[in-house]
């Protein structure tokens, strides 16, 4: 008996009882539909995570200050200020794999005031002109601030499109005044809209100013304290800005200076943001920067790093990893429903074999071999499962499209999942159809013909 004619016979046999065939295969339909929907939604969400990380700036690397340890208790990342602007300069000067590097300081919880409008932006960042280049951000209107303005602690700022909308009512804010913590800033540029980041926070709700301005005029000096367990080479503010001639503290008298131990005070930054010269150099950047910072921070060989290095690839891996775990979990549940569907197939195939005992006996009497009977029932259950699989694929794709339309979730159709679904449903047909088919092929033709 050729496979083709067996398939023909199988279809006929199934069409003799279409309602039952439909109900039998419903488990497979639901299982496959669930798998397909899960795969499409999972693929879509990991793709959207990837693209939002690319939007944030590809091959960016962050250096964050480390955790301080007080009495053996780690205070968490950022609790110890260990990064200085000089670190940033040194990185640029000495690390050959680093393309750009800028210090970043963050201010939060400040209000921006313009006219009679008070507004608390999500973030006020201070950085250097290269910041926009690194973050892959463009200026919509006006200009970026310059190195000169950074050095001069100029009171200029760039604003995101949300600020333009909320504070300036959509009018061009260029040359307008924006007061933050009693300091008047001049708006010199508007940033292109970036939309929400992958955490859902509005990226455009931001004010960017020279980091020196933010650090010295808004947030105040963040200083290392003597109780930190690691001491760092001290730099006095006067060393930092010799030309400015600013006295941050009353100049001590000669006597006082000899009497008092100078408490180390130095400017800290919240983060150093940098890019590698090329994306494949990200690993080298980490090595070089780690070596340089350990040396600069005078860490002994057995001491932990007092900073953390993060790159966007790592971040991407973490986020896609999370979504992959969720997808796999749901996929597992869908596979279980496929197994349940398979048990349903087996059940009905067993009933069908019993019901058609006389037919089996007759087929044997007219010359069917055991393997012909085995093949007939196996193909019947496979056809049942494959039809269920195809319906499931259509249904799954349909519901993924509905999810996209009504929930606005991104989906990506996956040809691999379709192939896998077909293979899996055929496999379910074979695995769960085998026992009933084997039972049918073992029947004694005499008994089978006499069966009522």
């Amino acid at each position: 008996m050729t496979v083709f004619s067996t398939i023909h016979v199988a279809f006929k046999a199934l069409l003799r009882n279409p309602t039952r065939a439909l109900l039998t295969t419903l488990g497979i339909v639901i299982g496959i539909a669930a798998v397909i929907t899960m795969m499409e939604i999972g693929n879509g969400s990991s793709q959207s995570i990837k693209s939002s990380i690319e939007k944030m700036g590809a091959n960016t690397i962050l250096v964050l200050p480390g955790a301080s340890r007080r009495g053996g208790v780690s205070q968490g990342s950022g609790s110890r200020m260990t990064l200085t602007p000089e670190d940033c300069e040194a990185i640029l000067r000495e690390c050959t794999t680093v393309g750009r590097a800028v210090p970043v300081v963050n201010g939060q919880g400040y209000q921006a005031i313009s006219g009679n409008i008070n507004y608390a932006p999500r973030q006020i960042s201070g950085s250097a002109p290269d910041f926009l280049e690194i973050r892959n951000w463009e200026i919509e209107e006006g200009r970026n601030f310059t190195e000169r303005e950074v050095e001069a602690r100029s009171r200029v700022c760039l604003v995101g499109s949300t600020i333009v909308r909320e504070v300036f009512g959509g009018r061009s804010p260029i040359d307008s005044e924006l007061r933050i913590k009693d300091t008047a800033f001049k708006v010199i540029g508007v940033l292109k809209s970036k939309g929400a980041n992958m955490m859902g926070a509005d990226e455009d709700d931001i004010i960017i100013a020279p980091w020196t301005t933010v650090r010295l005029r808004l947030t105040g000096l963040k200083t290392g304290t003597a109780t930190d367990t690691t001491s760092i080479a001290a730099t006095s503010p006067s060393d930092l800005y010799p030309a400015e001639g600013i006295a941050f503290y009353p100049e001590p008298t000669e006597n006082a200076e000899t009497d008092t131990l100078l408490v180390p005070k130095f400017i800290q930054v919240d983060m150093i943001l940098m890019t590698a010269v090329s994306p494949d150099k990200v690993g080298d950047v980490e090595e070089e920067v780690t070596a340089l910072l350990r040396e600069r921070h005078r860490l002994k060989a057995d001491e932990e790093n007092d900073f953390h290095i993060r790159n966007s690839a790592e971040f991407m891996k973490m986020l896609t990893g999370t979504s992959a775990v969720m997808t796999n979990l749901l996929l597992g549940v869908a596979l279980i429903s496929l197994i349940v569907g398979g048990v349903g197939i087996m059940n009905i195939m067993l009933v069908s074999v019993t019901e058609r005992t006389r037919e089996i006996g007759l087929r044997m009497a007219v010359g069917a071999r055991s393997r012909d009977i085995l093949q007939q029932f196996l193909i019947e259950s496979m056809v049942l499962c494959l039809v269920g699989g195809v319906v499931g694929i259509l249904l799954g794709h349909g519901s993924a499209l509905l999810v996209q339309k009504y929930l606005n979730w991104p989906i990506i159709s996956s040809p691999e999942a379709v192939v896998a679904a077909v293979v899996v449903s055929a496999a379910v047909g074979v695995v769960f159809g085998f026992y009933p088919a084997w039972k049918a092929s073992r029947l004694d033709p005499i008994e089978a013909l006499r069966y009522e």
Partner: protein, 234 residues
């Protein structure tokens, strides 16, 4: 020329600790073109003999030569092929596939035939067989739309579709009224006249009278035989 040769066939069922001998040494030969009725009361062993002759069951001891070939000890696949090529079955309860047309029922054995015929050849042969049993106007009817006599004729067409040399009929008229019985028996006589060996199993003397030779089985042995009315020593 001998078509069927049985030499000292026995059949014993082993039911746990008790052995039940059903056939106790049957020696029998049937020539090509004979018309034989196998008779006996229920429990006499005639059905078991029929099953062995039809390659559905195996003897416990003895030899069974069909067309010169020992089939009793052949492999399962070989016996399936023998059933397909050399034997046609007609059953008391017709055994047609439900919700399947007369034509599909008739050509069903062809799907197990090794020498592959195309679908068209199969259909043509099936239609020819239905014409031969006088049902050329019932080709696409379902068994439920056919009378008992018509159903049995479809079954005969199915038995003949592979042109076997021997036709076994197990109580072929058991489910039919006397008029249709007559028609069906007439058909067997015609087929026999065309050279097909026909072996009937029946307990009815009337039906057995259609055959040229009758064999009586009782208690697992052949007790007597007649040939065209005359008693012969078995």
């Amino acid at each position: 020329m001998k078509l069927i040769e049985l030499k000292d066939i026995t059949k014993t069922y082993f039911l746990g600790e008790i052995d039940v001998p059903v056939l106790k040494g049957i020696t029998l030969s049937i020539d090509k073109g004979e018309y034989v009725a196998l008779m006996g009361a229920s429990g006499s062993g005639k059905s078991t003999l029929m099953n062995i002759l039809g390659c559905l069951d195996r003897q416990t001891t003895g030899d069974y030569l069909l067309d010169g070939e020992e089939v009793g000890r052949a492999s399962g696949d070989r016996r399936a092929l023998v059933r397909n090529q050399k034997i046609g079955f007609v059953f008391q309860s017709f055994n047609l596939l439900p919700r399947t047309t007369a034509l599909e029922n008739v050509i069903m054995p062809l799907s197990y035939t090794a020498g592959n015929l195309s679908r068209r050849e199969c259909r043509e042969r099936g239609i020819a067989m239905l014409r031969r049993v006088g049902l050329s106007d019932r080709i696409y009817h379902y068994p439920s739309q056919l009378s008992g006599g018509q159903q049995q004729r479809v079954a005969i067409a199915r038995a003949l579709v592979n042109r076997p040399p021997v036709l076994f009929a197990d109580e072929p008229t058991g489910n039919l009224d006397s008029k249709t019985s007559e028609e069906v028996m007439q058909m067997f006589s015609e087929l026999n006249a065309e050279g097909i060996t026909v072996i009937l199993v029946t307990h009815s003397v009337e039906i057995a009278n259609f055959a040229k030779r009758s064999i009586h089985v009782q208690d697992g042995r052949i007790v007597s035989g007649t040939y065209e009315g005359k008693a012969v020593q078995s």
